[in-house]
């Protein structure tokens, strides 16, 4: 417990100092809000519009969550298929690498045309595609990185591929899955946010940030950014909690 406290206080202290320095800079240099608003201004804007902030945050968070769930399910499913079927694997690997390398959000206008632009469907789909890659790569790695010794053991027991999947591969893949989920969750929030820059319903964080910036209401724009950070952190922390519940034996310092 003491060790954990020791880890937490330095960043909190430095964060607090950072905010103080920021506030001091704005006041001393008399910076106008359109250049850099003071933390105090952001805070007051935030609290005076609290219900709007929460609503907006929830809107984007819902999009992100839907995309996250959908993308995760597809990622897991395709990873299992890729592990089992050679041809599919060879197709998927370059496609997955391609998805990782290109700006997926650029596809939003196309999806806006194909799907109803007045709904959140195009954004959910974009988020799902963005989320797909880290999940797919990590689950695939987890399903295939079983020690050969264990595979030989099950083979000697005449186990079917499905049994091997159930008994060996899936348990082995769980930690890998969470590694991928920890990357995918904050990514989902950002993707959902950025997808809102392409038009469509204006109720989300992305739309509001762009609109506030366009109207030079910079205090409000930064307040929405704070909401985005909070939502991103919340997604990450929920993922951590899920991981702790599902794999309580996982080491604290497990890294990707």
């Amino acid at each position: 417990m003491k060790a954990r406290i020791n880890l937490i206080w330095p960043p909190i202290l430095i964060g607090a100092l950072f905010l103080l320095a920021w506030q001091a800079l704005v006041v001393i240099q008399d910076l106008k809000p359109y250049l850099l608003p003071a933390p105090s201004l952001i805070f007051t804007t935030f609290t005076s519009n609290l219900s709007l902030m929460v609503e907006t945050g929830i809107y984007t968070a819902t999009t992100a969550a839907l995309g996250l769930v959908f993308g995760t399910l597809v990622g897991i499913l395709l990873a299992m298929v890729a592990q089992r079927f050679f041809v599919f694997r060879n197709l998927m690997i370059p496609i997955a690498a391609g998805i990782a390398a290109v700006p997926i959000v650029a596809l939003t206008p196309i999806l806006n045309n194909m799907f109803d632009i007045t709904s959140r469907t195009p954004r959910v789909l974009i988020t799902a595609i963005v989320v797909f890659f880290p999940i797919f790569v990590n689950v695939y790695r987890g399903l295939t990185a079983v020690p050969p010794v264990q595979l030989e053991l099950l083979r000697s027991l005449s186990a079917t591929p499905r049994t091997v999947l159930r008994v060996l591969r899936i348990p082995n893949a769980l930690p890998f899955f969470f590694t991928g989920l920890k990357v995918a969750a904050p990514l989902a929030v950002i993707a959902a946010l950025v997808a809102e820059y392409f038009g469509g319903p204006q109720e989300g964080l992305g739309s509001k940030i762009a609109a506030s910036a366009a109207n030079t209401a910079y205090g409000r724009a930064w307040a929405y950014v704070v909401v985005a950070i909070i939502v991103g952190l919340a997604f990450y922390l929920i993922t951590l909690a899920l991981e702790r519940v599902a794999t309580p034996w996982a080491g604290r310092t497990r890294s990707a």
């Binding site: 430095i14 038009g199 991103g232």
Partner: protein
Amino acid sequence: MASGTSTTGRRVKQGLISLGWALAGVVIAILLWEGVKLLGAVVTLPFETSDQAMPHVWTIAQGALQPEVRGSDTPVWMTVLIAALYTLLIAFGGFIIGVSVGLLLAVIMQRFAFMERGLLPFVIASQTVPLIALAPLIVGIGNRISFGPFQWGQTQSIMFIAAYLAFFPLSVGALRGLKAATPTQLELMRSYAASPRSTLWKLRFPASVPYLVPALKVSAAAAVVGTVVAQISTGGRGGIGRLIIEYARETTAQPAKVYIAVIGAILVGLIAAGLVALLDLYLTRNLPKEKLT
């Protein structure tokens, strides 16, 4: 005895095979596209399959050859290509800056343990700020800064955003890589009374390559995404992001144009990935197969 070049040769062959599968994937995708359109004409699908929402593949190809603006000489594909190359250039600039900063931070954090304790939380925290979302704000601030005769413009802000997104994966990967030398190797260097700098150049950097390479791939992709998205949200002049937005407005009249622009953006990402793959081949030319990710 076999030398390093055969490993490189083998990897190039593997890359080409992968490319072959990728092309097969593209062909399958095109077939799926047309197939879905055919299906959509017969069955009600949850999305639009009309020629306006999903132009035929050949319509898109034709649209690439049309003049960009009525009466102009430049075909669409050329405008898109120029914008793509310009975007690639900005992304590259951001990538170089991000990688340099990331490497520098990693070296400092590895060398001085207290710097790692102090800096690493910040490095991680920097990524909780969705800078991509802040792009309009960053550009707004940037437009008002000037260093003497040098005016900080929109392009510089976009490059800054790309660099910001690129430095983190590289910094984390490089730090892990610099620490990857085995204790025995480190004891060996100490037995030779090697200075920290010699140990860095002769041991830590070469040993970090297997960790640097995946980080470089992620950084390159992040730089591209950052550049394109920043261009979209700020209307970056001359960039592919802006073209996508512009053409998206014209889908009623010319549905094919936005597809070409999106393909252009995808190409930027693929070219960047290809360049990093070449860098990868060069950096790992002396390593055995097992070390490669």
